[in-house]
Symmetry: D2
Amino acid sequence: MRQPLDATARGVYTIAATPFTEAGEIDWASVDSLADFYLRCGVDGLTVLGMMGEAPKLGDGEAEELARAFLRRVDGRVPVVVGVSSAGTANLVRLARAATEAGAAGVMIAPPTGLRTESQIVAYFDEVIAELGDIPVVYQDYPQATGAHISAQAFLRIVDAHPSVVMFKHEDCPGLRKLSQLRRSCDGGKRRYVSILVGNGGLYVPQELARGADGVMTGFAYPEMLVAVCRLFAAGRGEEAEDLYDVYLPLVRHEQQPGFGLTVRKEILRRRGAIRCAALRKPGPSLDAEDLRELEALIARLDRRRGERGGRGDERELAVA
Amino acid sequence: MRQPLDATARGVYTIAATPFTEAGEIDWASVDSLADFYLRCGVDGLTVLGMMGEAPKLGDGEAEELARAFLRRVDGRVPVVVGVSSAGTANLVRLARAATEAGAAGVMIAPPTGLRTESQIVAYFDEVIAELGDIPVVYQDYPQATGAHISAQAFLRIVDAHPSVVMFKHEDCPGLRKLSQLRRSCDGGKRRYVSILVGNGGLYVPQELARGADGVMTGFAYPEMLVAVCRLFAAGRGEEAEDLYDVYLPLVRHEQQPGFGLTVRKEILRRRGAIRCAALRKPGPSLDAEDLRELEALIARLDRRRGERGGRGDERELAVA
Amino acid sequence: MRQPLDATARGVYTIAATPFTEAGEIDWASVDSLADFYLRCGVDGLTVLGMMGEAPKLGDGEAEELARAFLRRVDGRVPVVVGVSSAGTANLVRLARAATEAGAAGVMIAPPTGLRTESQIVAYFDEVIAELGDIPVVYQDYPQATGAHISAQAFLRIVDAHPSVVMFKHEDCPGLRKLSQLRRSCDGGKRRYVSILVGNGGLYVPQELARGADGVMTGFAYPEMLVAVCRLFAAGRGEEAEDLYDVYLPLVRHEQQPGFGLTVRKEILRRRGAIRCAALRKPGPSLDAEDLRELEALIARLDRRRGERGGRGDERELAVA
Amino acid sequence: MRQPLDATARGVYTIAATPFTEAGEIDWASVDSLADFYLRCGVDGLTVLGMMGEAPKLGDGEAEELARAFLRRVDGRVPVVVGVSSAGTANLVRLARAATEAGAAGVMIAPPTGLRTESQIVAYFDEVIAELGDIPVVYQDYPQATGAHISAQAFLRIVDAHPSVVMFKHEDCPGLRKLSQLRRSCDGGKRRYVSILVGNGGLYVPQELARGADGVMTGFAYPEMLVAVCRLFAAGRGEEAEDLYDVYLPLVRHEQQPGFGLTVRKEILRRRGAIRCAALRKPGPSLDAEDLRELEALIARLDRRRGERGGRGDERELAVA
C-alpha cells in the first residue's frame, strides 16, 4: 500500500496545513476534507508535520495521530512524507518509525538549531540515519529557520554516505546557484540522482524548474496551479507554465511572508472549503479587518486574471487531466 | 538649492547603486549617467550610500566623495538622502554634516548591530540625534540586516522626542501590520505626520500603498514603474497601478533575493545603459552563464508583457508625464 | 504539601539535570539519587525540565513523568519549579497544569523563539498567563538562547499586569545593570517585590548577590558551594562568601561553556555519586580522553584548594548546618 | 626593523585598547603611554585595531594613523599585528598594505558577516589572500561576533592553500576540542605548524595552553599575569602557572562580559596609569557608581590575594625576568 519515496519523486508535494478549531483543538473532520482537497488538486504527494504545519506546536501524541489521520485518508493514493525534525534524536526516531509503520513513504529532517558548521551537520545526519535504517529521508535545507547552513559540496558528503537520503528539500535563499550545483552533481551519471523539490513558498518555482528541480514542496493554497505548472514544464511548455504561474505570483508572494503568510494560507483554504476554521494554534498571528480586505482584493484580482485567461481553462481541470 | 526633507516627502526615492569598474574603482562617469537615468525615470528623490549601494565597502573618503558626486549631478532637482549608518557615532555625524553641507536633504540611519532591546534603540537615537541637531533623519527599520527590532509603539517614542525624524523607511518583514499601526498613529492629527516609504525591494508595494505608505524607497532597476505605480495610486487608480506593478513583479521578486539580487539589479542597469559595468565590489557574487540566461528570459518575458499591454504606453512616459 | 512559589523565594534553586542511561532512556533510579543529592547539598528549591535539563529532548509524556518523579522524591521538602516553555501554548498550559496538580510550586517560562520586540514578548505573556490562572510563574530571561531581548522597563509591564509573575530568572549577559534596575524597581515599596534568581551557570554570583539578587538558579555540580555562598551573603559575610566562591570559580567557568558544559556537569555529578551515567541524550557532545584528563586536573586542583582552606570546613556541612 | 610574523609566534600578544579623550578623540599621548605600559608588562607582541580596540568606530584615516602611532612607539621591539577586517576587500587590502609598509609584522582578518558556509569562508580567504601576496595573516575565529563558523577540517583547507596564514586566533566557544584538533593537525610533522593564540578574554587560558596553544591574544588589563602564566607553562611549571592565573580569574571573568567588559578593562588601564581616560567612543556603555564600586571591590580582592601569595613576587617582575 505504502508508496516508498525514492529519487524519482517529482511534481507537487503539498505541505499540509494542520486544521484547528477556534478552541485550538485539531479539527479532525477538516483533516479529512483537507486531504481530499489536496488530492482533488492533483498533487503528487503530501508532506505532513512540516514547520508550516505548525508541527512544533503539537504534542507528541497529537503529531503521531495527525500523521496517521492523513495517511488513513490518503490511503496510498499518493506518497506521504512526514516531518520528524526534533531537538532530540529519540523523539525523531520514534516518530519516524511510527509514521513508517503507518504507511509513510519517507520522513523529512531539518538539522536542529545549534549546529553551526557543515561538519557538524554531516555528523548529525550520520548519527540520525544510523538509527533510521533504510527509512527514506528528505533533507530539509531551510537555514533561515534552522541556522544550519550547508554548501552543495557538504551535502554531497551526506548523499555519498547515505543511500536512504533520496530527496533534497531546497529552500535556502538565495539558493538558485546551489540548486544548479546539486542538480549537476547528482545527475544520475557520475553520482546517483537525488530528487530536488523546492520550497520558499514557491516564490521562485519557474526559475527553479528551469534549473532542474523535480518539483515543488510547499503549502501554497492553490496547489492545482503548482501541479499544472510542473506538468506544463515537464511537457516542455515552460513559457506557458510561467504565464500561468505569474497569474498567481501576487498571492504566492503574499503567502510567502514568514509567519504571517500561514494565516493567509489557512484563510484561503477555509474560503475554498478545504478546512472549516483558519485559526492558527497559539501563539500565532490572526488576520484583522484590514488584512482580510487586503486578501479579498488580491483574490478578486486573481479571479479577474484567471477570467481574462479564459479559454485556457481552470487550472484544477488542467491539473487533474 | 538644497531641498530639505520633511514629512511631506512622497513618491519614489530610488536607492542608488554604486557603480564600479571591473577593477573595483568607483566609476565616476557612471555615477553621472546613473543619476541622469534615475532622473529621467521621474524619481522623486534619491538615496545614496544605502546598504544596497554597497556603502559598507567604501572608504570614508570615497563615501563622502560619492555623496558629493551624486549631489552635484542631481543639482537640487530632487532631494537626496544620504545613508550615514555606522558602527561609530563620530563617523556617522561627520558624514552627516559633510553630506548636509554638500546639499543633502536628509540622512538615513539604521541602528547599529548589537542593539537588542527597544529601549536600547530609543536611547541610541536620543544620543545620535542630540549630535545631529536639526538635520532631517530617516529611520531605517531593517531588522533582517541589523538585528534591531522595534515595535510601532517604541518608534513613536522616537517620533515624539525628535522632530527631526521625518521619515520611516519601512522594511521589516512581515511588516504590513506595523505599517498600518504607524500610519494610524502618525496621522497628522493626534500626532504629527511622518512620511513612510517602503523598501524590501518593493515586494509588497501595492499592499503597502493601500495601507497608507507615502511611497517607495528601494533600488529596483525599473524605477519608472514604481513612479507610475505611485502616481496612479495617488490619483485613485489603484487597480491600474497594481496591474502595472504585477507585470514587473516577476523581476521585482527576482531582484529581491538578498545579496544575489543586487548583482541582478546592476546587470539590468548596465543593460539599460545606466552604468557601464555591473560588477559588485569584492566580496560579492557575480552572475554566471546560467544566471544570465535566466535573467534574459525574465527580461524577455517582461518585454512581451509590456508589449501586450500596448496601448497603455511606456511606463517611463507615464512617469515623466 | 506543595510549597507555593512566591516573591519571598531565595537561596539556591538547582536546575536539575536529567539522568539518562547509556542507551538514552531516563534513568529513574538516578532521578531519585540525584534529588537526594541536591537535598543533601541543602538547596532551597529545585527546577526541573530546564533547558540544561535537556527538556527539549524529552517526549511530552516523559517530561510530565520526570516532573512527577522529582516531585514524588522531593516530597514537599523544598519547592519544585517546573520548566514548561514550549513553542505551543497548549502544550505549555497542559504541562503547567499537570505539574501544578502533581505538586509543583510554580512554572518557569521563557519566551519562544520568534518573538522579536519587547511588545511581542509582553503580549505573549499576557496571552499565556491568561490561560495559566494563578499558577506562579518564573520569567526566564535568557536571550542568548531565545533571541527574545527585554529591557527592565518592559519586564515591569509584565510585573504590573500579572501578580502571578513572582520571580525573574536572570541570565541576560551582560546583565548586571539590568539586575540592578529591576532590583530597584521591584523593591517592595513603590512596586511589589519580585524574587530575582540568577543563572548563567553562576559565573557572576558574588556580584549579583551584591546587587540584590535573592539567590541562584543554576545547575552547577557543587550546589553546596552556592548554598554556602548565599547563606554567608545573607549573614552579611560577603567577603567570606566570595572567598569560598572563588575557590570553585575555575570549575564554574569550565562548566559554563555553552553546550559542552552540561557534559562536564553530568560527569562531575556521576563522580560524586549523584547519577550513574553522565551521557547526554542525543544529539549531544561527550567527553573524550583529553576532556576527562582536563576535568580531572581541575577537580584535583579544587580538592587541593579546599584542603588548603582546611579549618573553614566542608561546604556541605556549612550548607546543611 | 619589522619583525615578520611567522608560525613560531608565541606568548602574549596583547590586544591594544584604543584610548580616547572624554570628547571622543583619539588620545595620542595615551597611545604612547599604553604602548609603553604593554612593553613594560613584557608582552611578546601587540595587536592593534582589534574588535576590542573599537576599530569599527574609527575612520579609515584614524585607523591607519593609529596603527602607525603604535608602530612608531613600539619601534620594532615586539612584532605588531594589525586588525584589518572589513566589509570590503579593497579597504582591507589598503589598510593591510599601509600597515605592512609602516612596519606591521602581519595582519589579522576575521570573515565578514554574511558568510554562512565553510565553503564560503574558504573562498573568501582565497580571494583576499590572492590580493595580499605574502603579507602574514592571522585568521581570527570569532564566530560569536561574525556568525562565520568554521570547523578545524575546513580551516585546514586554508592552511594548505595559503602559506601566508601563519596563525590561528582561537576564540570559538566552546572551542577546546577544535583547538586540540588544530594542534594535532598542524603539528609541524604531517602538516606545517601554525601558531595558535587564544582569545575569549583569556577565560580558558590554562586549559588552552595545556592543549597546545602557543599563547594568548587578548586585552586583559593585567597582561603581565598572562605573560607570567605563559612563561611558567613553557617552563613546564603548569600548576604554578594555573595558581597564578586563578588569582586573577575573578577579574578575567568580569572583564570578559561582552561589550560591558571593555569599559571595565579601560577603567583598569586608567587606574594603572596606562591611559588617561577610560571612555569608550560612542555608542558604548560607561560605568556607573555601582559598577565602579563593584570593580573596586574586585581589585581590592585581587590586591589582597596577591599580597597573600607574597613570597612569590610581583607578576610584572616575573614577566620581565
